[in-house]
Symmetry: C2
Subunit: 420 residues, 2 copies
C-alpha cells in the first residue's frame, strides 16, 4: 500500500482525493499497489471539502509522518510551498506538485534538492494534457526546434469569442468573469503571466534553459480590438495568445504574446477554453497535444498520473536531463527576436502620408508585406493596418517610437507579432 | 555506454542509426549515457544502407553478443520477429520494436516472456506521436471512455483529397501510389487492416483487452463515393477512417471503418497524411495527440525515445497493467455495436417508394434522422441518402438485406457509420 498526504484540499485536492477513491480499481491494476490518502492539510478547518479523508491544519502531520510516501502539493504561491516541498524531500518523500509559479521560480533549486527522489509536476502545465511526459520522455530523440502553446483557457475562450462572434474585449472579459473562467482581477491570465510560467517549465525540458518570468517578453491580449480581428480574418490568420520557445541561431527565444498564426495550422483550430501545445522536433517534425488546461478533475488526472508513475518506479530526470549539455543554449534577449509584425495606427487621410510612413520604416530596414486601409469614425482620418516582412524586434520598437511622433499619426500604435 | 543491435536496417533502421549519431549530444544529456549502435543485421548485404555501422546478415551476431544491451527489431512480419525477440529476451536483452503486426498477434505472449525486462513499442502505433506513453503513463488516472484514432496516413490523405478537391477514389488512390504513400496492392492500408493492428495495441493499454484482428469489425474506404462526400459536407460531417475503441454498457466495442464525424470535432480537422488519436477519459475528458504517423525519421523518433527510457531505467508495465483488473472487460460482438448510420441506395423515382422503405426500417426499430434525395444519371431513378437515429449493428445489417431485395431498390446499398 502507498500512502499519500495532500497539502491543500481545494478544488484540485478534493478531486485528487475523490478520484483516488473512485478509480481505485484501475489505479491498483495499473500501479500494482493500493494508493490511499492518509491525510489532507487545509488552512481553514471550518470549510467543508467534500472528501472522505482525515484533515488537519498542520502540514507537519504530513511531512513528519513516516508512513506517508508521497506528498502532493496543491497550495499555490511560491515561497510557502517551496519550504514545504524542501522539507518533504529532505524527509525522503516523493513529491507531486501542480504549482507552475513555484516551478517558474524554483525548478532548478528543487531539482538539486530532490536528487534521486522523484519530484513530478505534470499538472503544472496545460492541466490534463500529458505534455511534460511527451516532452521529457516521448520526444527525447529530438533537438526541439520550437514550441507554441495555448496554455491559458481563459484568454483562448475570450479570443475565440472575439473572433467567432465579433464581441469586444470588455464584453468577453465580463462574460468570462461571469462564467468563472476569469478572476475579478484578470491580469494574471489576460496579461500572459500564467502562460509564461508554463512556458518556462517547458523550456527547461526542451533546452535546459534556466530563466525566470521577468527575463522574458510577456504581453497580454488587453489591446486586441475588432479591427485587428477582422484584419486577421481577411488575411487568413487566427489570433491566439501563445507561449513560444524557439531555437534561433544564437540562442533560444522565449516569449508570450498575442500572435497571428495561419488559419490552417493545427493550433489555430484550438477554440474555447481548450489548451494545446505544438512541438516541432528536428527528427519527428510537428506533434501537437490537445486537451483541457484547467479544472479540478483534469488537473487531478495529471497529478494522479504522476503518483502512478512514482509507484511504478518510473520518474524523471525531473527537468529532462541526466547530464548538462556541454554547449548550453542561452536565452536570446527580447530585442534580438526576429519575426513578422502587424501594425495598426490612425493617420491623417491625406496624400503623402503613406509615403511618409513607409519611408520611416525603410530607415529601419522594415519592409511592408500587406496593407489595408479602413475608414475611421473621424472623417479626416483612416486606420492603416499592415504586416511587415521578417525584422528584428529592436527595429520595430524603435520604428514605432519614431512613427508615433509623426504629426500625421494619432494616438497609440498597436502591434501584434505574426508567426509564419 | 549502452550498446544497441538493430535487426532490419531499412528506412526506419537507417534513420535510427543515423539519428543516434547525429543527435548523440542531446541523447547523452537526456539519458546520462553514450548510446552506440554496435551492429546491424540485414537480409541483403549487397544493398547500400547509408549508415556508419557494422552490418551482417546473421541475427545471432546481435542476439548472442553479451555486449549488446538493447535489441531494436525493425524487420516486420509476425512469426520471424517473434522468434527473434523471444530469443533476445531470453538472453536478457531489452527490446524495442516498431512492429504493429507482431503486437496485434503476440503482445500478451511477449509480455509474459519479457517479465521484468523492458519491451517497448512506442513506434508501433501512430509513428512519431507518443501515444503509447500518453495512454500508458499520462492517462493512468482514467477509466478510458473511448479512443478514436486516425492511424493510417495513406487513407487520411486520400479522404482529405476526396473531400477538399472532389477527387474520386480511383484517382486519389493512383496519386497516393505515385507519391509512394500507397502500395501497389493497397489493401492493407485502404482496407483498414493497418489501423486495426494499432487499435488492438491501444485497446490493450486502455482496457486490458486481448483480441486479434480477426475478432473485430474492419471495413475499408474502398466504397466511398463523391455522393457520400457531398452528403457529409451538406450535413456538417467529415469522413475519416477511424479506429474506435469504446466502452459500452456490456463490454468494449472495437471497430475500424470509415466514419462520419462532426466537422467541429478536433479529430475531424486532421488532414492529409497526418495521424491523430483522441482519447476520452472519465476524469480528464478529451485529450488529443497529433503528428506524423509514418516515415523513417518520425518512426525513429519513437524508437529512440524508447531506448532513452530504457537507459534511464524507466519502463512499462508493457501493456499498462501491473495486476489484472478483477472484472476484466470483454470484447463486444460486432453485432451488438450501437451507433448511427448513413445509408445510400438507388431507388425508383416513384411515389410510394419512400414509404415502402421507411416501413421496412420501422420493422427493425430503425428511425430516420435526416434525408436527402439526389438525381441519378438514369431518369427513372434517384439516389436516396439518409441517416438513422442510434440503432444496433445487427438490425441495420438485417434491414439492409431486406431493403436490397425490394424491387424498388437497385444495386448495392452503401453504409457509413456515424459517431456523434
Amino acid at each position: 500500500m502507498v500512502k499519500i498526504g495532500i497539502l491543500g484540499v481545494g478544488t484540485v485536492g478534493a478531486s485528487v482525493a475523490n478520484i483516488l477513491e473512485m478509480n481505485a480499481d484501475i489505479l491498483e491494476a495499473r500501479s500494482g499497489k493500493k494508493i490511499v490518502v492518509k491525510h489532507g492539510v487545509v488552512k481553514n478547518m471550518s470549510q467543508d471539502r467534500g472528501v472522505n479523508i482525515p484533515l488537519s491544519d498542520n502540514p507537519m502531520n504530513v511531512l513528519d509522518d513516516p508512513e506517508i510516501d508521497i506528498v502532493v502539493e496543491l497550495i499555490g504561491g511560491v515561497e510557502e510551498p517551496y519550504a514545504l516541498i524542501k522539507k518533504a524531500l529532505e524527509n525522503g518523500k516523493a513529491v507531486v506538485t501542480a504549482n507552475k509559479a513555484l516551478l517558474a521560480y524554483h525548478r532548478y533549486e528543487l531539482q538539486e534538492i530532490a536528487g534521486d527522489i522523484p519530484l513530478m509536476y505534470e499538472a503544472s502545465t496545460a492541466g490534463g494534457i500529458p505534455i511534460i511526459g511527451a516532452l521529457r520522455n516521448g520526444l527525447t530523440a529530438n533537438h526541439i526546434v520550437s514550441i507554441q502553446g495555448i496554455m491559458n483557457g481563459t484568454t483562448n475562450y475570450m479570443l475565440t469569442k472575439m473572433i467567432n462572434e465579433g464581441a469586444n474585449y470588455d464584453e468577453v472579459l465580463k462574460e468570462a468573469q461571469d462564467l468563472g473562467y476569469a478572476e475579478a482581477d484578470p491580469t494574471f491570465d489576460v496579461g500572459g503571466f500564467d502562460t509564461s510560467h508554463k512556458l518556462l517549465i517547458l523550456a527547461s525540458i526542451a533546452y535546459g534553459l534556466d530563466a525566470k518570468p521577468e527575463d522574458i517578453l510577456i504581453e497580454g491580449i488587453q489591446n486586441i480590438t475588432q479591427t485587428d480581428v477582422s484584419f486577421a480574418k481577411e488575411f487568413g490568420y487566427e489570433i491566439k495568445l501563445l507561449g513560444i520557445a524557439k531555437k534561433a541561431e544564437e540562442g533560444v527565444e522565449l516569449r508570450v504574446h498575442p500572435t497571428m498564426i495561419c488559419k490552417s495550422s493545427m493550433i489555430a483550430k484550438v477554440d474555447g477554453v481548450m489548451n494545446a501545445v505544438s512541438v516541432v522536433g528536428d527528427v519527428v517534425g510537428e506533434t501537437m497535444y490537445y486537451g483541457p488546461g484547467a479544472g479540478g478533475n483534469a488537473t487531478a488526472s495529471a497529478v494522479i498520473a504522476d503518483i502512478v508513475d512514482i509507484v511504478r518506479g518510473n520518474q524523471g530526470p525531473m527537468l529532462g536531463y541526466k547530464k548538462s549539455l556541454e554547449s548550453g543554449l542561452e536565452l536570446l534577449p527580447a530585442d534580438e527576436i526576429v519575426t513578422h509584425y502587424y501594425l495598426r495606427m490612425e493617420v491623417n487621410d491625406k496624400s503623402g502620408v503613406l509615403a511618409r510612413i513607409t519611408n520611416e520604416l525603410e530607415k529601419f530596414d522594415i519592409s511592408i508585406e500587406s496593407m489595408l486601409q479602413k475608414p475611421h469614425s473621424n472623417d479626416n482620418r483612416v486606420k492603416l493596418l499592415f504586416t511587415t516582412h521578417a525584422c528584428q524586434e529592436a527595429k520595430i520598437q524603435e520604428a514605432m517610437i519614431v512613427l508615433k511622433k509623426l504629426e500625421c499619426v494619432h494616438g497609440e500604435i498597436a502591434m501584434i507579432r505574426i508567426e509564419k
